[in-house]
């Protein structure tokens, strides 16, 4: 019995430093976020807590405080979006999904990390984001679907500041929306070798009365021979538009 206790103690002693060491690092000592990641939740359906509907599984939500601080007018627009989501959801037209929605749509994405540029490759509609490190945003006004991403390290956290959005993208299939004044700050923090914490701060003075946050874990896809494939949404959409249902 004593031996068992000792073995357990030894395990605990060894396990603690092992966890800290288990975060992969690059040659310059930064966390190495390279790899293929995926969110496993229903934020793509609705970032707020929600019960199930046809084709929309239930979920506990990812928004801090379970509330999005819309202005009254913006709240009304969200309700209209929700009611007409099949027609209005930009992703149903295969448009680029914006940030942070692209992260939790249910498709894997790959981080390719170099010291000055961290590129994110998404399976959905071959979306790509180039995060330029320690460099300023270009002068606007610019309206890009995926915004302009600039990164920096804060300790072991990759902080990505994103501006220059258009007002066309949504946060989820439930019609949660923003304007072109959207400002997103993403924080990617390694928890261990195979998990990142993904935290997002959202500001948009035209739509929200204050900044708000969401967070979720991202899981490494450890599947054997995992690679990003293609979801060439446009090819499906054009066939749909040309087919009997689209006429």
């Amino acid at each position: 019995m004593t031996r068992t206790v000792l073995a357990a103690a030894a395990f605990i002693v060894l396990a603690a430093p092992a966890a800290a060491q288990s975060i992969p690092r690059t040659a310059d000592g930064r966390p190495d976020l390279s790899g293929i990641w995926q969110a496993i939740n229903t934020a793509g359906v609705n970032i707020l807590p929600h019960h199930a509907e046809p084709d929309m599984p239930a979920g506990l939500g990812v928004v801090e405080g379970n509330e999005i601080p819309y202005t009254p007018e913006a709240a009304k627009k969200q309700r209209e979006n929700y009611a007409n989501r099949a027609k209005l959801d930009p992703v149903n037209k295969c448009f680029l999904p914006g940030v942070p929605r692209v992260t939790y749509m249910g498709f894997p994405f790959q981080i390719v990390q170099t010291p000055n540029q961290i590129t994110m490759l998404y399976e959905y509609a071959h979306t790509v984001r180039n995060v330029f490190m320690n460099s300023p945003h270009p002068k606007g006004p610019i309206e890009w679907w995926m915004g302009d991403s600039r990164g920096r390290w804060e300790g072991d956290t990759l902080v990505v500041d994103v501006v220059h959005f258009n007002d066309q993208t949504w946060f989820d299939r439930a019609g949660n929306h923003h304007s072109e004044a959207l400002h997103v700050v993403e924080r990617y923090t390694p928890i261990d070798r195979d998990h990142l914490n993904y935290e997002v701060t959202v500001e948009d003075p035209k739509v929200f009365t204050r900044a708000w946050k969401m967070s979720m874990p991202l899981y490494r896809r450890i599947d054997r021979n995992m690679q990003i494939l293609e979801y060439e949404c446009a090819a499906f959409d054009e066939a749909f538009r040309e087919g009997p249902a689209g006429r």
Binding site: V128, A235, E242
Partner: protein
């Protein structure tokens, strides 16, 4: 009819103009003997940076380059229009008879398009595939990380992640617009084996089709600090009687700082519906024709 052809040609010309303007004076600079590229920590020759192909016109036709009729309309007669096919020596694609007939039919359908598959996939804002993504307007950025090369194309924000070192291709049932790339370095040459293609992409706007048996072997040779010699061998035993090869230089972009802008082609796609509308109207009115080039002096 003339108006339609003109409109299309102008769109193609605008694309070409971008390519020409971006080439600057890169030319054959840095072709000195004895030059060798710097090495990255994992031993790969350093191919990183922003590059742009010198393959003027291949996006229109791999066999002919720009349309000579369009050159007349655009006042570009006499400008460079290099042929990118280097084998076979007659610069023609060795289509098997059945596929030559299919392409000829497609060139007729391009003249009076009535179905989506009569419209160039590039115009439809679909992924261009390999090697076409390398010579449509817009350049590319190469990033290298240990064990892999990433090519980010400006056109249609396409990309290819190319693992190095013997990793098997995806199962053959998986078909991809961009194919499935596996690379290795042979000296200063990045050799990329590309398989798993679908049948949706064309090799140019000229209806140059292929099957899902297409296999492309690319050779990216670092020839100097500002120049890559690019070569692609195309095999498709269903479609081509024998393999054929294209080659062209790829030059480093002259800009000191360059960032790829978002090219949201699909989101801005407004061309296909009017193209089909006019094509269907013409077809219904009994119009027939074929898109072809006069090949004087070639």
């Amino acid at each position: 009819m003339t108006r339609r052809i003109l409109g299309r040609t102008l769109a193609a010309a605008a694309g070409c103009a971008v390519v020409v303007a971006s080439l600057g004076s890169a030319g054959a600079a840095g072709q000195g003997g004895g030059w060798s590229p710097s090495r990255l920590p994992d031993g790969q020759p350093d191919m990183q940076g922003h590059w742009i192909s010198d393959a003027v016109g291949a996006a229109h036709s791999v066999e002919d380059g720009r349309d000579p009729d369009a050159d007349v309309i655009q006042g570009r007669v006499g400008e460079r229009n290099p042929v990118v096919i280097v084998a076979p020596p007659d610069n023609r694609i060795p289509y098997r008879p059945e596929w030559a007939a299919r392409r000829e039919q497609l060139l007729r359908d391009i003249f009076t398009p009535t179905r989506l598959e009569h419209v160039d996939p590039h115009v439809r804002a679909l992924l261009d595939g390999v090697p076409r993504n390398g010579y449509v307007p817009g350049g590319m950025q190469v990033l290298q990380v240990p064990g892999a090369v990433l090519i980010l194309y400006e056109s249609n924000h396409a990309w290819r992640f190319i693992p190095l070192g013997g990793r098997p291709h995806a199962p053959q049932q998986v078909k991809l617009f961009m194919g499935d790339s596996r690379g290795r370095w042979e000296g200063n040459t990045l050799v990329v084996d590309v398989t798993n293609f679908n049948e949706e992409t064309w090799l140019d706007s000229h209806g140059t089709i292929h099957s899902d048996a297409l296999r492309v072997v690319e050779r990216w040779t670092l020839a100097g600090p500002t120049r890559i010699e690019y070569e692609a061998l195309l095999e498709d035993p269903k479609v081509f009687a024998r393999p054929w090869k294209i080659a062209f230089p790829v030059n480093r972009r002259p800009e000191k700082v360059y960032e790829i802008f978002e090219d949201s082609r699909w989101e801005g796609e407004r061309a296909v519906a009017p193209i089909l509308e006019v094509g269907r109207k013409d077809k219904a009115a009994g119009t027939t024709g074929i898109h072809e080039h006069k090949r004087q002096g070639r």
